[in-house]
Every structure is written in C-alpha cells, then in structure tokens.
C-alpha cells in the first residue's frame, strides 16, 4: 500500500485513534496536503464523536424514563446506499432503490420494506425504534466481503467472495437478523458477550427465521429453520454445508457454524454466534410443540419478552427463559398446553 493509500484509508476510516491522526498531522515526513488531511479528519472525527455521544445519551435518557418516542403513523422510510466496494459508510444514496436495475439494491429495499411490514403487521411495531425510524441499508460493502452487520445505526451487506458466500442480501433471514439487532438495541439493550450476547444473537436468528417463514407463509413443520441457507456459495455447498446455523439441529454437520444446543455446553466468553444455539433450539422446540405458524404464539411471547421490560444488558439465559414462562401464563391463561410446551422447550436445553 502506498503512503497515499495509507492516508486515504486513515482519512476515510471513522474510528481511528485521535492521537494517530494528531501524530500524522504533525509528521514532517508527510506533505503539507497530507498533514492537512489528517488534521481535518481529526477535527471531523472529534465532532462526530460528540454527536454520537449526544445521540447515545438521548437514547439512554428516553429508555431510563421509559418514555416511548412519539409514534409516527405509517411505515418507516426505507433508504439504500451503494458503497461501491468501499468500506466507508453509508455510501452513495440511491434515489429510487425500489426500481433499481441493480438487483442487490432492489432486494435490500424490497426485503427491508417487508421486514418493516412484518414487524408492523405481526407485532404492531413501527420500525426499529417503534417511532418510525428510517431504515437505512448499505450494499456492495467492501470487496468480496463475507459478512453483513448492523453498525448501531444502519445495516451493511457484503457481496460475498462468490465461493464460500454469495450476496448477503439473498437471505431474507439475514436481513431481518441485522434489523432485529437494531430492535434489541432500542429495547432490551443486551450486551454482546457471555449469556446476554448469546441471547442477543438468538433474538436476531429467531426473528430472522420467523420472517423467512412469514415471507413463505410456512407452518412450523414446513419450515427448514436454517439461517443463511440462501447465502451459501458454491465452495460451501460442494462441501455439503447448507447453512450457517440450523435452529432445529444446532450441532448438525451441514452447519458451517455448528452450535451447542444445551446450556451444559455453554462457556463464558464463547462467541455469541455459537452460544445462541441454546436459545435458538429452545425456540424451535417450543414453536414445533405449539404448531401452526411460529409468529402466532411463540413469536408473540418472544416479542413481549424483548420489548415490554426495562433494558437488561447482562441478562442471563435462565432469566429470559423464566420471563417467557411467566408471559405465556399471563398472555394465554387458558392454554395449559402452551405453558407445558414453553416449559418443556426450555427444560430440553437445560434452562
């Protein structure tokens, strides 16, 4: 990498240590133009940090006071930006993504809109913050980028390397998985490590899988319960991997990321994408025991457990399990079979 590319990289990056920027801005080995670029970036970076800190404080105040933001009627605006293979967010805004000839852009728009509809129609939620927050997505993130993520404010999707993974917008469950991280951020505020991290990841998988089933109008016994099935590339399928994770069989050999399915296998410090298998399997067992469509009862209990309580950043899996047990009794007092199903599902995973 040339010095020019190095400084371009640093100037574009949003999270570069300020002292690095300051040091370069005073480095006599660099040209005046390069030094100015670093000092400008340090200035912008400082202001951005202040802005983010203010936004974070506001979110915390709202949550502390349990004041719901004013609910705006209707559905949220959906925007898509094109990163054109850079790793700079948000990228170039697309004016009419719904009619784009770039299928990735169109898919990100259509499926995000469908997720918003899913949350509204099924759970009565108006966007991520339940106040009509604009849902922004960035596509073509990076080069051969094997990932999709939520950056705290928007979704970002890579195109995959074409071997292990293909375009990450191809899996409807992936799109709802990322968006659900936003919902969790605005509700339970679960941390991203240990048991809370596993619950955080599981909520994203559970709602991701439910959304995929809802899109296909599937009964629980028709669903495949796979996460990331539609982003598997030829190199992965040639090795007989059919998904990232399988909620129905978390440790299966066809999973690229096989998971534990019993709490006895949980270890502190585990990557949340692995520990989530425990709660994923419980949800699967419960939804299958109830029958019908996953979002009709099991999904309603999970949604209430996520949004109707104070933030619990360090929530334990057992607490979440017990919360769903109590909610089942209060939401469906006349349905003893449902209570048995929820209890048995959690007991099966050791919780």
């Amino acid at each position: 990498m040339s010095l020019q590319t190095a400084h371009n990289h640093l100037c574009q990056c949003s999270i570069v240590p300020r002292d690095v920027l300051k040091r370069f801005s005073e480095d006599i080995k660099l040209t005046e133009k390069e030094r100015k670029c670093f000092s400008d970036t340090a200035l912008i970076d400082g202001e951005l940090r202040k802005l983010r800190a203010q936004a974070g404080k506001l979110t915390n105040i709202i949550n502390t006071l349990s004041l719901a933001p004013v609910v705006i009627a209707g559905t949220p605006a959906i925007t898509v930006a094109n990163c054109n293979h850079s790793q700079t967010l948000p990228g170039t805004p697309i004016s009419t993504p719904g009619s784009s000839t770039d299928l990735t852009i169109k898919r990100a728009y259509d499926e995000t809109k469908a997720v918003a509809q899913f949350y509204k129609n099924v759970f009565g939620r108006n966007s991520i913050d339940n106040a009509g927050m604009t849902l922004g997505s960035s596509v073509h993130y990076g080069t051969n980028y094997n990932n999709a993520f939520w950056n705290g404010m928007r979704m970002a999707y890579g195109d995959g390397d074409g071997n292990i993974f293909i375009d990450f917008t191809q899996s409807t469950d992936v799109i709802c998985h990322e968006l659900t991280h936003g919902v969790t951020q605005h509700t339970l505020q679960l941390a991203y490590s240990n048991e809370a991290g596993g619950l955080n990841e599981s909520l994203s998988d559970v709602f991701g899988s439910m959304f995929r089933q809802w899109r296909l109008d599937q009964m629980v016994n028709q669903a495949d319960w796979l996460i990331g099935h539609d982003i598997m590339g030829p190199g992965a399928t040639a090795r007989h991997f059919t998904c990232l994770r399988d909620m129905a069989n978390p440790g299966a050999v066809h999973c690229l990321a096989p998971q534990p399915s019993h709490f006895s296998e949980y270890k502190p410090g585990m990557d949340p994408h692995y520990s989530s298998g425990i709660a994923n399997f419980a949800f699967y067992k419960i939804a299958m025991a109830i029958g019908g469509k996953s979002w009709e009862k099991a999904g309603q209990i999970w949604y209430k457990a996520m949004v109707d309580f104070k933030p619990s950043p360090n929530m334990k899996m057992k607490s979440f399990a017990n919360r769903t047990r109590k909610l089942t009794a209060s939401m469906y007092p006349a349905n003893a079979a449902l209570r048995t199903a929820v209890d048995a599902g959690w007991l099966a995973v050791g919780l």
Partner: protein, 98 residues
C-alpha cells in the same frame, strides 16, 4: 522479530469456529511507516483485550482481528475491531473452509 500474524474472527458466520477460518501474515518490514505506527499504538494500549468502542457504537456481527507479533518478551496478542486494523494487514488474510 518481524512477523505479524493475523486472524479474522466473528462476523455473522462466526469466523474462527470449527469450519470458517481466515488467516494471514505479513512482515513488519513490508509495512509502511503509517501502518507500523498505527499498529504500535494499538499494541501499546490494548494488550490482550478487545479494544472498546464508544458505548453508542453498537456494532453487531462485525469482524474482529486477533493480531500477534513476536517481541523480545515473547508473543504479544491484541484483539481489535476491523475498523482499527490497517488496510495493509486486512489485505493479507484469506477466508477458507476447513
């Protein structure tokens, strides 16, 4: 003294698990001054623990990088979010299925 070893972990697919792997290595001498400086600063501040992002930067499914280097005192390892890793190091890794 000169070899930097790097492993990508995490992400939606949980890189670093039993099948999804991503490794690379680079000689420090091949890095530009700017990258070496950035790397030295990361090592000097973040030994052995994940670099903490500001509270409101709630990245989920993001990649982290485990970076190791040899020193006279032994091998030093840091784990940092992708956005803090010099691009020249990210460029040397390769994703694979094992």
């Amino acid at each position: 003294m000169g070899l930097i070893k790097i492993e990508k972990i995490g992400g939606l697919g949980g890189f670093g698990g039993p099948h999804l792997k991503s490794y690379g290595e680079r000689d420090v001498a091949e890095l530009l001054l700017a990258d070496r400086t950035a790397l030295n600063l990361l090592f000097s501040r973040r030994k052995g623990k994940l670099l903490k992002l500001p509270n409101n930067m709630q990245i989920r499914d993001g990649f982290n990088y485990r970076i190791s280097r040899e020193t006279e005192a032994g091998i030093e390892t840091i784990v940092v979010p992708e956005s803090m890793v010099p691009a020249a190091l990210i460029a040397c890794i390769k994703d694979s299925i094992e």
